[in-house]
């Protein structure tokens, strides 16, 4: 039990320590402090996971494999984002503080065992994010749009919560009985979380926001915030509303539209961040397939895909932040990248191939699990459409890869500082290591999926 309290104390310590350091200290100390505390939190979470003790505190916080998986993912992701911020942002202290606030919100979403808890967590996460987009002066429009999305999303969420309470009388994440009024709540939950998780047709503004924000903040938006949306969606849909499994066909249809929207939308784009926005929308579509099928394989697949995409996306956006600093923002600008910096060119290509689903990378494992889940549940059509989408996506990835390995007109070396380099190397290592040895991660993921499905 002691470890749970240590975890809580560390979170509080991180928050207050960061606040004090942001006011008084130099950036470097703040970075070191953040990474140190995040590292300890990560170790504690792993310790809690391996001792296998699950606990419920006051009936509103619960430690279980699912929440531990997501908490670990967010911890590592936020640590990487911290490094990227440190290297690129002028106002690292403020951004880092806001990020810490967001992180607490993410933990609340992951560990909460009530629907209002998830509500609070989402709020805690999204409001600081709006401010961090706002901090960069050029992205006022993106910040406004993000704010509007967050506001509408939260409004619908609270509406859905109210209907759910009226219908079932429960606020906890426990399986509810079948009733018509709750079906409305299910739809509204999907809609409201559809903003965060970029599900079609609620994702129309996503490419604008990703493009309008600086690349280092886009890394946070697509890499982590979106996954928080999925964490909430998984908890609510699978833990509470699994009884409406027959209605999940809606999610299947949404997933197909999301995939096609993302992949076809990316075909004609020129701006790199916009392409990545559409690409991440299409990845959300694959993840949704797993949720729609809702068997243990497919949920494992979704979780693995979430895990894979987090690090691939952060890696790519770290590289794009490097490029953005040199005013490279379009595909044409990529030309000759392999001559300018061999390593980041290679890393970028590998990340992209992993997004397509190249064997021996994490992207492949996630997709195999998702498609296997769909096929074994008799929904082979979803797997087929998913494979078609992978093929479509290859066209724009290959366009970028060819540009990277073509000859640029002027060779000017791009030098990457050690902070970003370490982020890229960590992301690349995770993408390849867990692609070749997926078994290392699958234990935790299978446990998380089993918890969700009450197996």
């Amino acid at each position: 039990m002691i470890s749970f309290y240590i975890f809580g104390i560390l979170c509080a310590g991180l928050l207050f320590g960061d606040l004090l350091l942001a006011i008084f200290s130099i950036k470097r100390v703040q970075l070191a402090f953040n990474l140190f505390i995040l590292g300890i939190i990560g170790i504690i979470i792993i310790y809690i996971y391996y001792t296998g003790s699950s606990a419920s505190i006051l009936n509103i916080i619960s430690f279980n494999p699912f929440s531990e998986f997501f908490a670990l993912l967010f911890t590592v992701g936020v640590a990487l984002i911290n490094l990227i911020y440190y290297s690129f942002a002028d106002d690292y202290r403020e951004l880092s503080l806001l990020l810490t606030f967001s992180l607490i919100g993410m933990y609340v979403v992951a560990f909460s065992s009530t629907i209002p808890g998830i509500f609070i967590g989402l709020e805690l996460m999204s409001i600081p994010t709006v401010f961090s987009v706002l901090l960069s002066k050029k992205s006022l429009e993106a910040a406004t749009k993000l704010f509007i999305i967050a506001a509408i999303s939260i409004a619908i969420f609270s509406f859905a919560m109210a209907i759910n309470y009226g219908g079932s009388g429960a606020i906890n994440l426990i399986e509810s009985q079948y009733s018509t009024i709750l079906l409305i709540a299910v739809i509204l939950f999907i809609v409201s979380l559809g903003f965060e998780a970029s599900i079609f047709p609620f994702n129309v503004l996503i490419p604008d926001i990703y493009e309008g924000s600086p690349a280092y903040i886009t890394a946070l938006l697509g890499g982590i915030n979106k996954k928080v949306g999925f964490a909430a969606l998984l908890q609510i849909l699978i833990l509470v509303f699994i009884v409406y499994h027959s209605a999940f066909i809606v999610i299947a249809i949404l997933s197909v539209f999301t995939m096609f929207y993302g992949n076809i939308g990316a075909l004609m784009q020129k701006n790199l961040k916009r392409i990545m926005a559409y690409s991440s929308i299409s990845q959300a579509g694959y993840i949704l397939i797993g949720i729609a099928v809702a068997t243990s394989y497919s949920i494992s697949g979704s979780l693995f895909q979430i895990f894979a995409h987090t690090f691939i996306f952060i890696g790519i956006l770290a590289i794009m932040a490097v490029l953005e600093k040199r005013n490279i923002s379009t595909i044409d600008g990529l030309s000759g990248l392999s001559e300018k910096n061999q390593f980041i060119a290679f890393a970028l290509v590998l990340f992209m191939l992993s997004l397509v689903g190249l064997p021996l990378t994490t992207g492949f494992v996630g997709k195999v699990l998702i498609f296997l889940g769909a096929v074994s549940a008799g929904l082979a059509i979803l797997a087929f459409l998913g494979i078609i989408n992978s093929i479509i996506s290859l066209y724009y990835y290959l366009r970028m890869i060819l540009a990277i390995y073509s000859k640029g007109e002027k060779v000017q070396m791009i030098i990457v500082d050690n902070y970003v380099l370490s982020v890229i190397i960590i992301c690349l290592a995770i993408t390849i290591l867990f692609g070749v040895f997926p078994q290392l991660m699958l234990g935790m993921i299978n446990n998380a999926a089993a918890y969700l499905l009450h197996l």
Partner: protein, 587 residues
């Protein structure tokens, strides 16, 4: 695990090529590929498995197998790769970017080795995917050229159709067998009638795309846009052979479904179409490319009809003279700086080049004692019982001889002084690699007598290479000689007389067309129809692409970030969801 050791020298070489000085890259590449070849001798046969993913009742293994036909393909790839790299010494010398070339060609070889030793669908898929990617890079090597880009795109689009099919097969096999090893897949499919047919259809589409069978054969001649060593490698031992190889190792599935007669007819169409195209074509390299398509068709034809050993021997023999002919094409195009056989000339200037090329042509046309003769006699003798098929195969053989000698004669016209200098000062590595492969075409003939027992001692029993008898040898030689005479009359004589009428006729291809009408009037009609079909299929694929791009434009127009639009989408989305759920749940 042990089998993967073969890949190591290549991977080390790739890493080394990346870092050494530019002048040494080629030697590193050659040493890497030679080391792999040497390691092949020490590798012990047997199958190995690495667990990639274990999900309780499902597991994905990377399995490799070194025995029989796998070993043969490994031998071919490992033997030809150093030759190709050696040839590139001279060929790529004048061009820049050697480092990128050698990295890509080593990666391509590694992918093909993995393919050759694969023993589970997942290994097959991984190798297949890497083959697609590396071949995309190699065909589009000169990306500045729009045509190269387009050809690379065409190749990869066609091959992707195969990728989809293999992924689907993996999903199906995994869900019924729990594992993707070939053995367990065969066993599981035996008890599932219906599903085995689906698997067979998907696999055959994949195989057809890779081995350029009708109606997916168009990408192969276009793939000539790559550098010549790449074409030589692609056509002789790697990319296109992958399809045939997959067909042979998955043969139990096809035999079980009873698909072979269908495959037989498709292969037949491929053969006829490709032969006609080879006769019509003028581009030096594309003629040889169409000839490859024809030979792939012949292999499929033989294997699907049950003459497995004959087909596999063809597979083996074709590698050597094909690589030689591509080397020659590269040399000719390099020396004359032309690509059409109307304009190329001077093959006779450099005697070593000339004689080596002659070896290749004689093998292609089917003259004893070159390996091409044994290859075609094997196939011909397998169909000796069926007089109709045998007659058509003989006509095809004659046409092969005609276009082979047409290629030869038209390339040996009188050359200009500049061309002669370029012929005589041809890089040594190009000449020597041609000589080596010419010798190999002779040595490979011996395989006819040994390959059958080596490969099929206990696997596909009963269907050996037909024994040689004098009648077969006579018929086969006669066919080749008739082809030679016809080609001589049409092309050589016409040139010597220098008659404007004849050369006019020849250039317009009227005589060729007339010949078709006399010899194969019926076939030609079918061929045209089939060609139209293939054309329209590729148009259809194109139009899918265009459709996607149109939708993409629409999306780009729609998502300009208008908040109003967003509100509308939101409202419409919610309403549609409600209506839909209402209908589904019937409340």
């Amino acid at each position: 695990m042990q089998a993967l050791i073969l890949l190591l020298p290549l991977l080390f070489a790739i890493a080394a090529v990346r870092f050494v000085r530019k002048d040494y890259t080629r030697y590193i590449a050659l040493i890497g590929s030679l080391t792999s070849l040497v390691l092949l001798v020490f590798i012990s046969s047997g199958s190995y498995t690495i667990q990639l993913l274990n999900l309780g009742s499902y597991s994905l293994q990377i399995s490799t197998n070194i025995a029989g036909i796998n070993l043969m393909l490994l031998g071919i790839v490992l033997g030809i790769a150093p030759l190709v790299i050696f040839y590139s010494f001279g060929y790529m010398n004048i061009r820049s970017e050697q480092r990128r070339f050698y990295i890509e060609i080593l990666a391509f070889e590694a992918a093909m080795l993995l393919f050759a030793m694969s023993y589970s669908f997942i290994t097959l898929f991984i190798a297949w995917e890497f083959l697609s990617l590396t071949s995309y890079m190699l065909i589009g090597f000169w990306y500045e050229k729009e045509s190269a880009n387009k050809a690379a795109r065409k190749a990869i689009t066609t091959v992707f159709i195969g990728d989809i099919c293999i992924l689907a097969v993996i999903a199906i096999i995994l869900s019924i067998a729990g594992t993707v090893n070939f053995n367990s897949a065969f066993a599981a499919l035996q008890t599932r009638p219906g599903i085995d047919a689906i698997v067979a259809v998907l696999m055959i589409i994949a195989i057809f795309t890779k081995s350029a069978q009708f109606p997916f054969s168009e990408w192969l001649p276009d793939a000539m846009e790559g550098p010549t060593p790449v074409s030589a490698f692609l056509h002789s031992s790697t990319m296109v052979k992958a399809g045939i190889f997959a067909f042979v190792i998955l043969l139990p599935i096809f035999s079980q479904v009873g698909f072979n007669s269908f495959i037989f007819y498709i292969a037949f169409i491929t053969v006829v179409l490709a032969t006609l195209n080879a006769l019509k074509e003028k581009h030096v390299k594309r003629i040889i490319a169409y000839s490859t398509v024809q030979e792939l068709g012949l292999m499929m034809l033989a294997i699907s009809a049950g003459a497995v050993a004959a087909g596999v021997y063809f597979f083996f023999a074709q590698s050597f003279y094909k690589v030689l002919l591509f080397f020659s094409s590269g040399a000719i195009m390099e020396a004359t700086e032309k690509t059409s056989i109307d304009e190329t000339s001077g093959l006779k200037v450099n005697k070593i080049v000339y004689i080596s090329t002659l070896f290749g042509i004689l093998a292609l046309a089917g003259f004893i004692p070159f390996d091409g003769f044994f290859a075609s006699i094997g196939i011909g003798a397998s169909f000796a019982g069926n007089i109709f098929i045998f007659a058509i195969l003989s006509i095809i053989g004659m046409f092969t001889s005609i276009y082979a000698f047409r290629w030869m004669f038209l390339n040996s016209k009188k050359a200009s002084p500049a061309t002669i200098t370029r012929y005589t000062s041809m890089p040594k590595s190009m000449v020597y690699s041609m000589v080596i492969s010419a010798i190999l075409t002779l040595i490979a003939s011996a395989g006819f007598f040994y390959l059958g027992t080596f490969l099929f001692g206990n696997v596909y029993n009963g269907i050996g290479v037909a024994a040689l008898n004098t009648t077969d040898i006579l018929i086969e030689s006669l066919i080749a000689i008739i082809g030679l005479i016809i080609a001589y009359i049409i092309y050589k004589k016409a040139l010597r007389i220098n008659s404007t009428f004849l050369s006019e006729v020849m250039n317009n291809g009227v005589i060729v067309n007339k010949a078709y009408e006399y010899f194969a009037a019926g076939l030609y009609g079918i061929a045209e129809g089939a060609f139209l079909f293939e054309e329209s299929l590729s148009r259809l694929l194109d139009s899918f692409g265009i459709m996607f791009i149109d939708i993409a434009k629409l999306i780009r127009k729609a998502s300009v970030g208008d908040i109003n639009l967003y509100a509308i989408m939101l409202a419409v989305g919610i309403i549609i969801l409600f209506v839909f759920v209402y209908i589904i749940s019937g409340v």
